[in-house]
Symmetry: C2
Subunit: 219 residues, 2 copies
């Protein structure tokens, strides 16, 4: 390893430019469809530097994921802690703590997170080794946090249906992260992809009702 002696090498602007560019290209084409040459071109840098900085295309991909997943899950934990501190824990506020960090990232052009949203969509639907390692490493721990929160706040919800409800929330969350224009198409332009508060509010209401319905006996 030709790294400096420090354990955690500082990440300069060049590395960040590669991460930003890789996020876009991986999102557009998936892991295999993306090429290091395309990433370097978008980063306006030399392709050989990818291997110098990250070691391999695979390692670059994992760095892209780690950067966003870490920030998202840190914000989720902060929000959950704040809810407990304020005594404001409800199913709705828990769901908002789950969804807002991802959806807000996906709608903020200045942060380029819409690309990560699509990348995550690829990974969430993948069953290959890379995708499973990714979701396991970055999202299983936070999943258990939210499952515990939901179970504690919804009376009569079985452990199985708690997991079901959480996974439904995540499925909708991912589908809402990345604006695809499909909602605009299907509503003939009436539904806009960019009203953040409306999107989060309606998603929370939808999911809260769905989860509470699971807790009720059939009838």
């Amino acid at each position: 390893m030709a790294r400096p002696a420090e354990q955690r090498p500082e990440r300069g602007e060049a590395q960040e430019a590669f991460l930003d560019a890789a996020e876009v290209v991986f999102a557009e084409s998936g892991f295999h469809g993306a090429t290091t040459r395309a990433i370097a071109e978008r980063a306006q840098a030399n392709a050989a530097l990818i291997h110098y900085y990250f070691g391999s295309k695979e390692a670059l991909y994992e760095a892209v994921v780690a950067r966003r997943a870490g920030a998202i899950n840190d914000e989720r934990r902060t929000r959950i802690a704040a809810l407990h501190a304020r005594g404001a824990v409800t199913l709705e506020t828990i769901l908002e703590a789950l969804l807002r960090p991802t959806i807000a990232l996906g709608r903020d052009p200045s942060r380029g997170g819409a690309h990560y949203a699509r990348l995550l969509g690829h990974a969430a639907s993948g069953t290959d080794e890379r995708s499973r390692r990714l979701t396991g490493a970055h999202y299983n721990a936070i999943a258990r946090v939210f499952i515990a929160e939901i179970a504690a706040i919804v009376p009569g919800l079985s452990p199985e249906d708690t997991v079901r409800g959480y996974l439904n929330a995540v499925a909708i969350g991912i589908s809402l992260m990345a604006p695809t224009g499909r909602s605009q198409d299907l509503s003939d332009g009436a539904l806009r992809d960019d009203d953040l508060e409306e999107i989060i509010g309606q998603a929370v209401r939808f999911l809260a009702a769905g989860i509470r319905a699971l807790a009720k006996p059939p009838g």
Copy 2:
């Protein structure tokens, strides 16, 4: 090793073998990650035949999608028509008509549909030209059918929220199509991936409650 002449596939079966094999490999690795060699090996046939039968890797991919999407949407239309004929149209039965064909396909080992489910997951989260062409060509028409059905049966649901509800249903439907084992992981084994009626029943209940909640005024 060459098979005996009497076991060699008849005319048409060779193409089906390629479609089956391609479905598996495309699902596992995505379009770019899949190779014609891997598809041919799984089909126990020669890779050059892919071009003889289908013209290109791209055309093979589209043939894989067309085969399943056509069958799924035909079944959906049949189910909707049957509901109207029986006078059994409710939000729940509409949602079941939407979800059952895909989820059942994904859980039926004899039909190999779990692979198509993963393939569709890739396409649904993709914004590349190929993915958009695919969803537009095969799923926009059926989407409008279901949006109209939902709007007609749920009082007070705005056109925008009807589209929202439909897209939420599709997002959850796709996430339920392919067993990923994640629900089993997160529930420590309590939630099983293979109980078809339980999965459909709980999904329908969840979605019906969510959609009806969108129709109610905030409060």
